[in-house]
Symmetry: C2
Subunit: 423 residues, 2 copies
């Protein structure tokens, strides 16, 4: 038996934990350990952990920090996590434009070895700011500093064609800005206010996490549920049920319209029981085609490839694609019906009109699934809702209900109207 | 009217194009422009563009490069794009362990200002390698170089606790390694061979693109189609049809089993036409629950949160969650049936046994959808297939067919077996 508290972690181990586990550890740690652990984290990471606590608990933890750090963290906490200010590190290496390279090297060395340097943004950029108002003038890289002659001035070698973001810029937008400028291989983007004053630095490693998290959220929404806050295995059973049940019940209520539709067409159905046989096939074909379209459009929107104004272009494409896919699936359905008719003598009653009704419905429902699946995300975006809510299950439910209407009406038209079968 | 060729781009504009547009431009450009454009790209980007061409065309373009670059690009081309060697930049800043900081600064300055420096990896790390065999010994950051005393030796300040990858390491795996070490805020990971010799550098900006691309591929597969190679708007109509039709036809053939099942139970169905009315509702509820489970498990696997060995843990969770969700949806179905029965006098024949059959089927099919949806990705992974192929539509089709069997058998059992209704 050892006397060691099994909750004791090295600061390194603590630093490497996911943020919700760090919070868990902090809850049960001794005051000494809390202080120790909070001090190893970079400023933006302290903020991330503190956001896991209630305001009163945050205050307690804030007291454990140095006075200077305390103020910075508090200012950051006031911002939502998912805009630039919540993501950025307010500490960065700086220089002034009229310094020589030699002076800058000394100045940077001083900053890099100071007491709070561990909390400084780990990028290799040095931000050139005006002394009186901290206005950002340019950037020099540490590679440039090393390569340049010691007597040159910072303002002569600095980059002035800068990519910057505002403090309230959404994190997804920042990720897109990195993406659009990927040929510049930016390691960080400075955050400046409306007057061009330097506020902090969002670095690329934070953005990788943003890209991963946003993809996960979109995937979960597209799977027909609320996005989880935690990894699958650490989400509690009841929390998981809540995240899933709301959507599942909503979809269920929507799908109940199919029962209403079927009650209306119950007479047709009992007369031609063979229509019921092909019902799941037709609804599923439309739902699957719709899932494909909606997936393509939602992802295209998230990547910034598809804009709201493209809706007409997208719809034209999907009409063409849906028509071709409808014809292909209609042909497959025809082969199936012919084969089972010849082999097993199935579908003998009203064989010809029934066959025409089924293959026509397959083609139309697939086309309709394509149109509905591609337009739904545009509609949601127009209403300023998240397009990802137009999930695969939601599209399936919508196409199920409307597809049934198409199927029953096409069938009645052909069986009763064209073939003259008495109802 | 100007005389300017509208295809003329500045090298900056060219560099910022997506890779398939760069290839497009290169196809139609003059030899002079081709040479100009290829020279501005970093080595790994040249390789990406060349991979868009056929081997014979690649040879033509390779001739336009400097002899030294030529050899490097050729070596890289021999590798698949999606492992470390295809992603890495073989040029990096290096130093030797026994150099002083002062010497290293001069040596790095020399490398950074040399003719081919534009093609050097843009990270701020300097790799310390042994002179005779290029074995990687450590890393110093440029911030360290600036902060350290000029007379110290590189080997005294370098980091030796290194995160490295092998040349054949898959790009998804590299992304995961960056993720696992995110507290280190790594900007790049060195690629070393089995003997520890330095081969090149994979930098974080390449990884952001990998994370984004892998998420897009997974999302498209989960939407029930083959992943696209190009953005939605630039994929040709016929290519899009091919990517979608294969899956759609496969799903359609699978869903045809529902028609077979229904033909078998046609007598039950024509006796109790009300059973047909609730069929879409029950199938959809199972499919939606299955979509949720399969989405959660696939994404959890992609993020490395769920391993193959967790299948039993995951299934136990999903059984509990599925039971609760099944009870909730069963209750909603009960309310619906009671309401419509009282309000509209629907479902009068065999009301009680029919109601029991429907709500029991809803609960069982939801539970079954949960189990099937969560286990399918494990099955695919066990067969070394991509779990993302267990798409939402695929799960829906599977649950449709099996859910129908559950529904008809439960209904027969209760209507005929328990309530004693004559068939």
């Amino acid at each position: 038996m050892t006397d060691t508290n099994q909750l004791t972690l090295t600061t390194d181990q603590f630093e490497s934990l996911p943020v919700h586990e760090q919070a868990q550890m902090l809850r049960t740690a001794s005051t000494e350990n809390k202080r120790l652990w909070l001090r190893v984290l970079a400023l933006d990471d302290v903020v991330d952990v503190l956001q896991q606590f209630k305001p009163a608990e945050q205050e307690e933890l804030l007291k454990l920090l140095d006075a200077r750090v305390h103020a910075d963290v508090k200012a950051l906490l006031a911002w939502a996590e998912d805009v630039a200010t919540g993501l950025m590190n307010p500490r960065y290496l700086s220089a002034r434009p009229d310094m020589t390279i030699q002076e800058t090297l000394l100045y940077v060395r001083e900053q890099a070895t100071s007491r709070t340097s561990a909390k400084t943004s780990a990028t290799s950029y040095i931000y050139v700011v005006r002394h009186d108002d901290q206005k950002l003038l340019g950037i020099v890289t540490s590679k440039q500093l090393i390569a340049a002659s010691g007597t040159a001035l910072v303002q002569d070698i600095m980059f002035t064609d800068l990519v910057t973001v505002r403090p309230d810029c959404d994190q997804e937008e920042i990720a897109r800005i990195f993406h659009e400028h990927k040929h510049l291989k930016l390691k960080a983007i400075p955050v400046v206010d409306a007057d061009g004053r330097m506020k902090g630095v969002v670095s690329l490693d934070d953005i990788v996490e943003v890209v991963r998290k946003e993809a996960t959220e979109d995937i979960q929404k597209m799977g027909g549920m609320e996005a989880l806050d935690l990894p699958y295995m650490t989400t509690g059973i009841m929390k998981m049920v809540r995240k899933r049940a709301i959507f599942l019940v909503t979809l269920f209520l929507g799908e109940m319209l199919t029962a209403t539709v079927m009650t209306v067409y119950q007479d047709t159905l009992s007369k031609f029981i063979a229509l019921a046989v092909f019902m799941p096939l037709i609804m599923s074909a439309g739902g699957n085609a719709g899932s494909q379209s909606t997936t393509l459009v939602i992802r295209g929107m998230a990547l910034g490839e598809i804009r709201l104004s493209y809706w007409w272009k997208v719809m034209r494409r999907e009409v063409v694609i849906g028509t071709i896919l409808g014809i292909i699936l209609g042909a497959v359905a025809l082969l199936r019906i012919l084969a089972f008719h010849d082999l097993f003598g199935q579908y003998d009653d009203h064989f010809a009109p029934l066959t025409v009704a089924v293959i026509l419905s397959v083609a139309l429902v697939v086309l309709w699934g394509n149109i509905a699946g591609s337009l739904l995300p545009f509609g949601l975006k127009l209403l300023r809702l998240d397009p990802a809510v137009s999930s695969n299950p939601a599209v399936s439910v919508f196409v199920d209900v409307t597809g049934l209407l198409i199927y029953f009406n096409v069938s009645r038209l052909i069986l009763v109207g064209v073939a003259g079968v008495a109802l």
